[in-house]
Symmetry: C2
């Protein structure tokens, strides 16, 4: 007689749905659908219309198709009855922005607008709005520098408003024809419920919303461009607090997917942030590390502090009742993957082939045998620039301490160490501002892929680390919020805290710091910091110049 919740996770290249048992979080079934047009950055689909540099666009039809196909299919796969589904939770990347007309139809579905790249979805990693981000930062400095106190001091080109300002400036006809700019997750929620309601997480982290001032930038917009004066009228002013119910499944959608009308649908959720309840963290002092190609750092606190260099702090941003902090490293697994795929030493590839394992496994095993501090190699983890704490995309990766006896696995180990040192620096900044980090829970692909990585993080951070036992933390988190949207009265939960207690799962084993390594890494960390300050702050022009020498020529 179980009750079930469905978690939807719209990622960058595919969408995923899982059905979980509300009682204990057990995964009953999972379905994945890839987006047909994926991400386009060269030409618009089916045309020869070229797309400007730095763009990353998507087709709304792919999301609609995925939504309907997943919801029709996944619960049947789980062999449950549709009547036992009590809630649906929705998560997506952010800030991924869609523009809609007054009937909530995507503008890119309209013959009149479809040839304009700005009418399509601007994916989170669309970087066409750097100029607009700079404009916003400059204007905030002029108007009131303190406005970004809780956003680490500045915004970047992935921001919601930077992307919209780009449309207003570069494609005014699209901007003018847009009735609603929405985050993808909020739009999906609209498709399911017919309600146009934003979620406090994305509104806070990506669109400068807070409970008191609504959008803290409201005095700035008109100064950026006369046309931009009306931007807030193009965004719903209904913002629901995370964990709330957005509405019930519409009749129309109910018929398409064969799930009963009225089933509770949660507000939208940002994929990364969902990991926090999904690994059972609902209180301060435990940092959640989301370790994938990049690394995100989430932590809850009772108070808001303006911490320079972090991504932001948002009230009710992740768990209602707490201030949620986010920081991030632009590259984590990306760096290891670079080494594994681009460098891929012959010897290790051969061993991988012989043993029929991945080269990653071979390198991991070798790296695990290297004593801390013995290789003399030190790296700076800036392969994708630095997000927190320097916020500088012009920075680049460094390897130092190389000699003719340096082995590939020693470089690999140094890369792992560098990402852990980068996290330690972020932890240190948090703690300097009174946000204490007592323990850590890790999730994401990397956390399950390599025990060497997690042990190295534990040694370098000198903190215990627990690892999620669930591979799909985002989808699980979405399902939790689906159960919360249903509420206890409907066999769900009345709060995400209760849901997390019952539905989350961690591995039994905890990684604990090795005291001998801790001591050595404390010394190495000083060197990392010296190099960080040298090349990231005082002499950052060396790296900046390298990026432009050829182009300037």
């Amino acid at each position: 007689m179980g009750k079930y919740s469905i978690g939807l996770d719209f990622g960058t290249l595919s969408a995923r749905a899982i059905v979980v048992d509300v009682e204990n979080g057990k995964e009953m079934a999972t379905s994945v659908v890839g987006y047909q047009d994926a991400v386009f950055d060269k030409v618009l689909p089916g045309t020869r219309i070229t797309i400007p540099e730095e763009f990353a666009l998507q087709n709304p039809q792919d999301y609609i198709d995925a939504l309907e196909s997943l919801l029709s299919d996944v619960w049947k796969k789980a062999k449950i009855k549709a009547e036992d589904i009590i809630g649906i939770g929705v998560a997506s990347t952010s800030s991924s922005v869609i523009c809609l007309d007054d009937k909530y139809h995507p503008l890119c579905f309209n013959e009149r607008y479809k040839n304009n790249p700005h009418s399509w979805i601007k994916l989170w990693k669309h970087h066409g709005a750097q100029e607009e981000a700079d404009m916003i930062n400059d204007m905030v400095n002029v108007v009131n520098g303190k406005l970004f106190e809780f956003y680490g001091g500045k915004t970047n080109s992935e921001n919601f408003f930077a992307k919209i300002l780009e449309t207003a400036r570069k494609a005014p006809e699209i901007y003018d024809a847009t009735y609603r700019f929405m985050e993808i997750a909020d739009w999906i929620v609209y498709l399911l419920t017919g309600n146009d309601v934003r979620n406090s997480c994305m509104a806070g982290f990506k669109a400068f919303w807070n409970k008191d001032n609504k959008c803290i930038l409201h005095t700035v917009f008109s100064k950026l461009s006369p046309r931009f004066d009306n931007v807030l009228s193009k965004i719903s002013d209904d913002v629901g607090m995370i964990g709330g119910k957005a509405g019930g499944l519409t009749k129309e959608m109910s018929q398409k997917i064969s799930i009963p009308e009225g089933v509770a649908v949660s507000l939208g959720n940002a994929d990364g942030h969902l990991a926090v309840p999904a690994v059972g963290v609902t209180k301060p002092n435990t940092m959640v590390l989301i370790m994938g190609t990049s690394i995100s750092h989430m932590i809850l606190s009772d108070k808001a502090e303006g911490i320079p260099g972090i991504c932001g702090v948002v009230e009710d941003g992740i768990i209602p009742g707490f201030f949620a902090y986010e920081a991030g490293q632009s590259a984590g697994g990306d760096i290891y993957d670079w080494f594994v795929s681009k460098i891929a030493p012959y010897e290790f590839m051969q061993q991988a082939i012989e043993k029929n394992v991945t080269i990653f496994k071979v390198l991991d095993a070798k790296a695990g045998q290297i004593q801390a501090g013995t290789s003399g190699v030190l790296a700076l983890d800036w392969w994708n620039g630095n997000r927190s704490t320097l916020g500088d995309s012009r920075l680049s990766g460094v390897l130092l301490g190389l000699n003719i006896n340096t082995k590939p696995e020693e470089i690999y180990k140094a890369l792992i160490e560098s990402t852990a040192f980068g996290t330690r620096l972020i932890v240190e900044v948090f703690e300097n501002y009174g946000v204490q980090v007592k323990s850590i829970v890790a999730c994401g692909g990397l956390s399950q892929k390599s025990s060497v990585v997690i042990q190295t993080f534990s040694d370098i951070l000198n903190k215990p680390i627990k690892v999620s036992a669930v591979s799909q933390t985002t989808a699980l988190g979405a399902a939790m919020y689906g159960a919360v949207a249903a509420g206890a009265a409907n066999n769900g939960y009345d709060s995400i805290i209760q849901a997390a207690q019952r539905m989350s799962k961690l591995e039994e084993e905890e990684y604990r710091p090795n005291s001998r390594n801790v001591e050595i890494y404390n010394k190495l960390y000083k060197n990392y910091k010296s190099l960080y300050n040298l090349l990231g702050k005082n002499f950052n022009s060396i790296m900046w110049d390298l990026k432009t020498i050829y182009n300037k020529h």
Copy 2:
């Protein structure tokens, strides 16, 4: 009716002899013999007697065997008559020191001494005498800092006297029993001629000799250790000017090798320095780059300047009548070899196997297609520390500007560029002190292995480069000096300048700087220099610490 000279080159692991036509330098035959005991650094040959760390020892018997076997064999291989051999030239590594009793027998041949590691040959790369080098530097600073004005400001552990002082301190019984400490080349000359005469090149570069003061340290020795007071009595005070004749072949040796008694034998020569006449350079303003695992920079001048950070300047050190300057980079081909052998990306290795070429060839071809300045990668060439201009063995290699799109061949190209930038820095120091470098001649294995390397050097140095057409420059140089020892009266030459004009050979083609690349590299060089100053001078403790963190722990 040709006349021939034999060049002998005693290298680190093998000895080589070539027979060349004195008229035109044409190589008639070559023979190579490996040393049976090679270099020993763990136990003494045939024993379990352990050798201290940092030692690098050799067996004199290997040299004797090689000498006799090469000279018996090589001229027969050339199908010439022994009567047509007019001279023999000798070159060896330096400073490689042998200790002999008063009958000129190696002490390690004596039962009484053979179990003491200090009784064997201390090879140039024996680094056991660091403490003694420090003592010498400290004492010179106390007595008169200007003494090392012409030696870049300090000496190192490879120096002749540092090695002998080590013996005096660590093995006084060997020191006391030694009648003669000799450079290997001088000892080989003794074996051939029975004459105990040193050469002005090694005496100058490695043993602080100059025409006026004999040994500039004579006032310092007694202060280093009471026992060391008599060190100069253990070294021949007969120093012959490079290019001179050491003597004629003894009857005894003549019988062993079937070359007529009395054939002229040159003074000993240092292997690297011989490259200068061997590539035809006998005048100022042309720098000779000897490009092998490391890179040496030799240049002649009319005047002596105290240039900080170079290896030294010695009157008559290479070509009689000129001051010879030497500088060096501790790693050149070593760095590329590290990348090729240790990193060896799988993809390139596969291509190499498919095309049946070396991976070096594959990488070289790829690197040749990379436009200057496009990769954004910058390296510091300190894989073996820095010899000139910082003289700091604790420094280490750096790669900067890495990102997740960085390709292996871009790293490889950056490694090549880094060695060229390192040479440019040395050239700049020379020119700042009035020693102008107008053109360059390159020789050594690397110069013949890769046109990409030479073109990159030309672009970065903004100077034309010619390349030696001879693969065995050291042996050819030795043969030239053999012809000079014979003299014009015996169908040889009266000066090395004449010999070089006739016997040296360069490739026709000259590498010329590409003006577009020159401009880009001028900018990149500024970045290289900033990084060089940052990590090599102002913040060198970062690298120093990395070498000791584990050991100190």
